[in-house]
Subunit: 584 residues, 2 copies
């Protein structure tokens, strides 16, 4: 038996008992006549003590020579500490060591195994197995496990069945970002790894499974933006015989349950906002509503004056940044430069200081008098002390730019509090999205998303105006889930395909298999998928998913710890009937 | 709202209430003046009724024309049935339909959606989404979901953390059966899909995760035997600071918990048997101990007579088949032919009828008298009425052959009862296995399996005799789990590699990464993995895993429903820097 207790377990009540502990040597303090060792395992740290009075010379010497991260087993008596440590649960006691057994030695780790480490990101990733010993990473992984367990408890309690769908599926012509897997047994043929179990969950609905969920890995071979992973995890859900309202209720309840169980936060009910409202109020379909700074559209009050820039703009729109009237000229210039960075892309920014005395001072005083600016303040909700920031131009682009500024200012002002949770349903997404390059519409969600009742006719006259039974769940400015009610009847589906520019033959080639299945009594159905990595990160009060993944990949899709991907040998390629085709 | 109740919910207490139901038309019985419809969903079947007295003509006509598997929604009043059906929970009531809404039509399904279907295996797999509507398949999937939920509840309760390990990993030189995944972003390089998370779970132990589990898909690109799948699911577990006994305890408790929660069966404690004992008693390292027919070794009593076949055999071994003395000559000949089939491979079989009067009649009466045969009966435990079947030859082969016969006879005699559960630990597996072709030893489990304490020296003198800290959990003659205590110190590991014929360079190339990690304080650790597909099938009282998998692949690794794997287009190959290399 390697241990009688964990290193996080001993308390005052154990004083006087003999215990056996195992763990890693986290720290050794050698005062000559006395040696203290912090012994660490997953559950905590227990202080060990050896001294000249009570410990044999040999043992003391052995303890003195223990290196960092050595794995040891000790036996000893739990005693009261002279100077207690209120910061750790075991801080009242220490263990007087009577036996010490080195289970394994350790080379000096390349970074310190502490909450705040001296290891940079690259080193931590290369030695991820050591990084995981650190509390912040370890606790994130434990947190993730707790979240998934609670998700399963809730959904099982609601009658959902977890069904495993296959990982070796079929590549589809539009699946350009599929990872493929050559089949040795089927010469020249490939499986594909699923980008999501979408087809299979819809088939399970055709199969009468009624309520399905799965926590499942998905794969996408795309150029990775920061904080994306080629393999990611979804909580994938689908229900039959439901309308949008049924789905929103179930998954609002799931999210409430998680917030309560995991974060101890109770939220009565989630606000809902249409896509159009989110775009006009926040310039963003996943607004962070933990703070205000709602958009004020200024066309009516800022156009038709002498300021040509605004007059020629499709949209003039501003936000009132609380307390920022006190910004210095230098700070303001920096802010203007910030919005002009290529990542944001504004041509410039007009601003108005709302002075404490009720007067205004703007960069466009030449064109607007105090009464004009007072109207701007009214529209943006600016109060004395605020700074009104105004952007103008093409409506969509300007909204996106101002949204970026709004988020930036909120971050600077500390308004994005990680322990405050503001969930929001964004509903009524457009069914179709115009591809600016090709001039064609394509499905915003996917081609099986159903239009709002009665809007099918609009597809002919004003396709961009058609709204879908599609919804996103937003938490603190991040999309954590999204889904839709699916089309289940073939007439609507045929109309959709026509408008997406598919000939019946093309539709059959790409989606024929699912369409065939739908001819055998597909029930009305719909669903939702949560991005687990992000959900867990946000519930954990962070925005970076990487530290909630045990073994993440870097931005080139590489696992630097195991050094994958890697070349494989020719024998293996030959067995797969493949040749490399690399341009020198 | 599509329904107020499910189709499995209504009882006497609902009589008089108005309900809305949705589901599939399972059966329509048209008696002219009255039409009954069985409406089916996941939860059950509810009988609908429409008749000339109480239903409008139009509605009755509409009901009459409903096809099988049409999806409908109805509204109506719950009424008492005239002739009740005690076979279904809703059998006391029916619903008098007042409104009927066709939600979707259905083509006539290619087979009947009944517990006993007229569809063959191929057709069922092609239309798996219809097959899943059938109770036997649907219930298996629900059962699987329940088992995994209970596994997670138990292990979470024991402090295990579920950690997701990566699917896109690295192919190893010995990983000839790895599925590989070309990386678009890393030219000419490949990921591999994991055959198991073995490396990562050991790294998690190095990382201090202490108790890890994961229910996880694994992949193996091998020629498929019947009832194997290229993707399969494991319950993968690992613990640190444990000895074999700790692991056996935890997973015995898990299995007991499952048997109780899922099957309502309580088992006090699982018997244990060494590998050697299992081989000599049952000729099999996963013996089915639900029945006897233990091997009796007959060398001492059957050799040194005139019968050359036995005299020259390494092993003479028999079993007593209960009640089979009554077999006719024809049946006995058939049995001899059965053991001579290439799948079994015996050269012949000697048998002894144990007559009810205490006398014996054998095929070798020329060489053995009644006293001789009485000794055989004693050794095999044969009673009057039994048939002693005796095989001889090379010890290992003969044991395997007799084991096959034992299982066959048990099946014929109905001794393999699906609702009887006989778990068994098989322990002390050999560390090494002799490859008869090459004459080299290789690791029986894997090269990180630790030898029994004190046996390391034996590696030099008698490698085949070294026993490992390796164990299998056997249930009803199937290996449902297996694992080992791992080597965690580099000296033992180096010795192992030497004996497995690896040069230090080769060992470094293949396992260097894990060995590096082990230098930073690897704790003593060990684990176990269950094959979930088989575990679920056996707990479900069946031996075929396929019907416990939602979308299984066939013996060629194909998904006949979606027709995968399939060719991919040249554009995609080019992006992956690959060319097909197919011999015409």
């Amino acid at each position: 038996m390697y241990r009688s207790h964990s290193c996080g377990e001993l308390r005052n009540s154990h004083i006087g008992t003999t215990v056996t502990l195992s763990g890693w040597v986290s720290k050794t303090r050698d005062k000559g006549f006395v040696v203290w060792i912090d012994l660490r395992d997953r559950y905590g740290i227990t202080q060990l003590v050896l001294d000249e009075d009570r410990t044999s010379k040999e043992l003391l010497e052995q303890a003195r020579n223990l290196g960092r991260e050595f794995v040891i087993q000790i036996k000893g008596e739990v005693i009261e500490r002279a100077s207690k440590n209120a910061n750790i649960p075991t801080g009242d006691i220490e263990v007087l060591v009577s036996e010490l057994n080195i289970l394994n030695e350790s080379k000096t780790p390349p970074f310190t195994i502490e909450n705040e480490t001296d290891g940079g990101e690259d080193l931590r990733m290369k030695y991820r197995y050591l990084d995981i010993r650190r509390n912040p990473v370890k606790n994130n992984l434990i947190f993730r496990s707790k979240v998934t367990m609670e998700v399963r408890k809730f959904l099982s309690g609601e009658g959902f069945i977890e069904v495993e769908t296959p990982y070796l599926i079929k590549s589809t012509p539009e699946g350009a970002r599929d990872f493929v897997v050559p089949s040795r047994m089927n010469e020249g043929q490939f499986y594909a790894l699923p980008q999501s179990p979408q087809t299979f969950k819809q088939l399970l609905m055709v199969g009468g499974m009624d309520k399905y969920f799965q926590i499942v890995k998905c794969f996408r071979d795309e150029d990775l933006r920061a904080d994306r992973q080629p393999e990611f995890t979804q909580i994938d859900c689908e229900m039959a015989f439901v309308e949008q309202e049924d789905i929103l209720n179930v998954f609002e309840n799931l999210t409430k349950y998680l917030l309560k169980e995991v974060n101890g936060v109770e939220i009565e009910s989630f606000p809902r906002m249409t896509y159009d409202e989110a775009m006009s109020k926040y310039g963003n379909d996943k607004p962070d509503i933990r703070f205000g700074m709602e958009f004020g559209e200024l066309n009516a009050v800022a156009q038709h004056k002498e300021f040509g820039v605004f007059n020629s703009a499709e949209l003039v729109v501003g936000i009132a940044v609380p307390g920022a009237a006190s910004y210095t000229r230098k700070e303001l210039d920096a802010l203007v430069n910030w919005v002009k960075r290529p990542q944001v892309g504004a041509n410039g920014m007009v601003y108005v200081k709302c002075n404490e005395d009720g007067s205004f001072k703007s960069t466009v005083d030449k064109f607007y008098d105090q009464d004009d600016l007072a109207k701007w303040a009214e529209v943006t909700g600016a109060k004395p002390g605020d700074l009104i920031c105004v952007l103008s131009g093409d409506a969509n682009k300007t909204r996106t730019q101002l949204s970026a500024l709004r988020m930036e200012m909120a971050t600077r002002l500390g308004l994005r509090k990680p322990n405050e949770f503001a969930p929001l349903w964004v509903v009524d997404f457009p069914l179709l999205e115009l591809d600016e390059e090709t001039g064609h519409y394509h499905a915003m969600h996917h081609p099986f998303t159903s239009p709002k009742p009665g809007q099918l006719e609009l597809l002919d006259t004003d396709p961009g105006a058609v709204r879908a039974n599609a919804y996103d769940l937003v938490l603190n400015g991040n999309e954590i889930g999204g889904g839709s009610i699916r089309i289940h009847d073939k007439e609507t589906q045929a109309t959709m395909f026509k408008h997406l520019g598919f000939t019946p033959e093309e539709a059959k080639a790409q989606f024929g298999f699912l369409m065939d299945a739908f001819q055998y009594g597909a029930p009305p159905h719909g669903g939702l998928a949560f991005g687990l990595d992000r959900l867990v990160a946000i519930l954990g009060g962070q925005e970076t998913i990487r530290d909630f993944i045990a073994f993440p990949k870097n931005n080139s899709g590489r696992d630097v710890m195991i050094d994958a991907p890697a070349a494989i040998d020719n024998e293996q390629l030959k067995e797969l009937n493949l040749k490399l085709d690399i341009q020198e």
